[in-house]
């Protein structure tokens, strides 16, 4: 299992073998507040890095979730449909959004590691 990487939009991504799992960070779920709805991409959809491909809604507002890297959506977390609060209670594990087959795993290198993301949060 590789290390977790982070985007400036507060998504995390972690490559396990050939498949990368995407979710939002603890900072993101705290800022959103109680999540009440998640719209997930269709399995099979081809996404490019930075493309809006999911929606997360709290009581107050809707926010886009962006693909951290390019690839093909191979799985989505159906548990979020019935229990969107998993995004709040377990953002880095059970609250994952979707899984991607990267078109170029090297794109991960451009993302922040945990230390860099923590430093980035300090600047906000």
């Amino acid at each position: 299992m590789s290390e977790m990487k982070f985007t400036k939009d507060h998504e995390w991504i972690r490559l396990d073998g050939d498949v990368a799992t995407v979710g939002i960070t603890d900072h993101a779920q705290t800022a959103l507040g109680d999540v009440v709805f998640v719209e997930l991409p269709e399995v099979g959809r081809i996404v490019t890095a930075g493309e809006a491909c999911a929606v997360v809604e709290s009581v107050k507002a809707a926010s886009d979730i962006y693909a951290p890297i390019s690839g093909k959506v191979v799985e989505v977390n159906h548990a979020l449909s019935d229990n969107p609060g998993l995004v709040n209670t377990s953002p880095l594990a059970d609250g994952w959004f979707f899984r991607l087959e990267p078109s170029d795993a090297a794109e991960l290198e451009a993302l922040m590691d945990e230390t860099a993301y923590a430093a980035y949060l300090e600047t906000l």
Partner: protein
């Protein structure tokens, strides 16, 4: 450039309680505390929640024939308002739009107390100054806080705080009394659909009073986020969203705020439009809308008829925690305003089925007077 925000007298307490403060109507206001909007909403529906609403305008109007004078600004019947009672009233524009919605209480024959929306208080005060005769004085009460204690155990909480007189009030009753030993002006009213109280207190006593109430284990603080989901479930209008200067009391379904005598004399601002719409029926009406599925539909969402024709717009929309799903309010063309009419909502490029739903979404639980006379 940073906007300079006003602070309510309770702001230091909000910070201590870990509130997330956001700009609202020029004030730094708590949108939520660490418990979160869902928990704060449920707290209000099951126990008691305490809200800081000190950003709202408070004003006193007094002088000979103050009731008649105030009626120059509103179609509400204030002449017949009993002492110690409060009424929901619209301030109307000359064109028949809604300048603001307000709570107006009669404290004495010729002395009234007004609660105005934060974003509208300056507009309201200017309007009242222009309309009131010089013998009637209008005094903004800027050195007072306003807190709302709402929920099914709010009454028990005030009883434990030694506020017997407040506890004895019926719905929309008002009294100058004491709560937890502090002199207050309390009314049995609110913006959540629950039984509850709004308490006006001197700014210097506000933190001590709120700390005394929060010491009760059945009370927790709640922010503007929960206030919004609670009022929308209760079908109550938010000024600036659901009503404004372009909407009339008839379109908004608020004709019940117009006194019977006023509908004989037609002597209030905007009477011409309001009378015409009552006679002919308004072109559009405010309705509740229940979207299918779980995705919240927000203000600004277009409403379509089943055949795809645009028929209106949502003015409020959120997730209703007590409903357990999305709820909305908006205006639709009158032929589509009947209960259970199927409509569609344009949500992020997709059409989501919805239907017109009677308001409120969650039944009101006000403390109605039980007197039989």
């Amino acid at each position: 450039m940073t906007e300079v925000l006003l602070a309510t007298p309770l702001e230091p307490l909000h910070r201590r309680l870990g509130a997330r403060l956001v700009p609202f109507a020029g004030y730094a206001m708590p949108v939520q505390y660490p418990a979160g909007i869902l928990a704060e909403h449920t707290q209000c529906r099951t126990k008691a929640a305490l809200f800081d609403v000190s950003h709202m305008g408070q004003a006193r109007v007094e002088g000979p024939a103050a009731a008649e004078a105030l009626e120059r600004a509103t179609p509400a019947d204030l002449v017949s308002l009993a002492l110690g009672r409060q009424r929901y009233a619209l301030l109307t524009t000359d064109a028949g739009g809604i300048l603001d919605d307000a709570m107006i209480a009669r404290l004495a024959e010729d002395r009234f107390f007004l609660v105005l929306n934060a974003a509208r208080k300056e507009v309201d005060l200017a309007r009242l100054r222009a309309l009131l005769p010089s013998s009637v004085t209008l005094t903004p009460l800027e050195d007072r806080a306003l807190i709302a204690l709402q929920g099914p155990v709010a009454e028990a909480v005030l009883a434990r705080a030694g506020a017997e007189e407040a506890v004895a009030l019926p719905f929309l009753g008002v009294a100058e009394t004491r709560v937890a030993g502090f002199p207050v002006l309390v009314s049995r009213s609110g913006y959540t659909g629950e039984d509850g109280f709004e308490i006006s207190v001197a700014a210097e006593d506000a933190i001590a009073l709120v700390e005394a109430l929060l010491a009760d284990p059945d009370v927790a603080p709640a922010g503007l986020g929960a206030r919004d989901s609670l009022r929308l479930e209760a079908g109550l209008c938010l000024y600036g969203n659901d009503i404004d200067e372009t909407t009339s009391p008839v379109e908004a379904g608020l004709v019940w705020t117009i006194g019977k005598r006023r509908r004989v004399d037609w002597d209030f601002p905007g009477a011409e439009r309001i009378r015409r719409e009552l006679d002919e029926g308004p072109a559009r009406r405010r309705v509740g809308i229940l979207p299918e599925g779980r995705q919240p539909a927000r203000a600004g969402t277009e409403v379509l008829a089943a055949d795809g024709t645009p028929i209106g717009t949502l003015t409020s929309g959120t997730f209703g925690p007590s409903v357990g799903g999305p709820i909305a309010m908006g205006y639709v063309a009158s032929p589509f305003a009947g209960d259970a009419t199927p409509v569609e909502l344009s949500l992020r490029g997709r059409l989501v089925p919805a239907r017109i739903h009677p308001l409120p979404f969650v039944p009101h639980r006000y403390k109605r007077s039980s007197r039989t006379s």
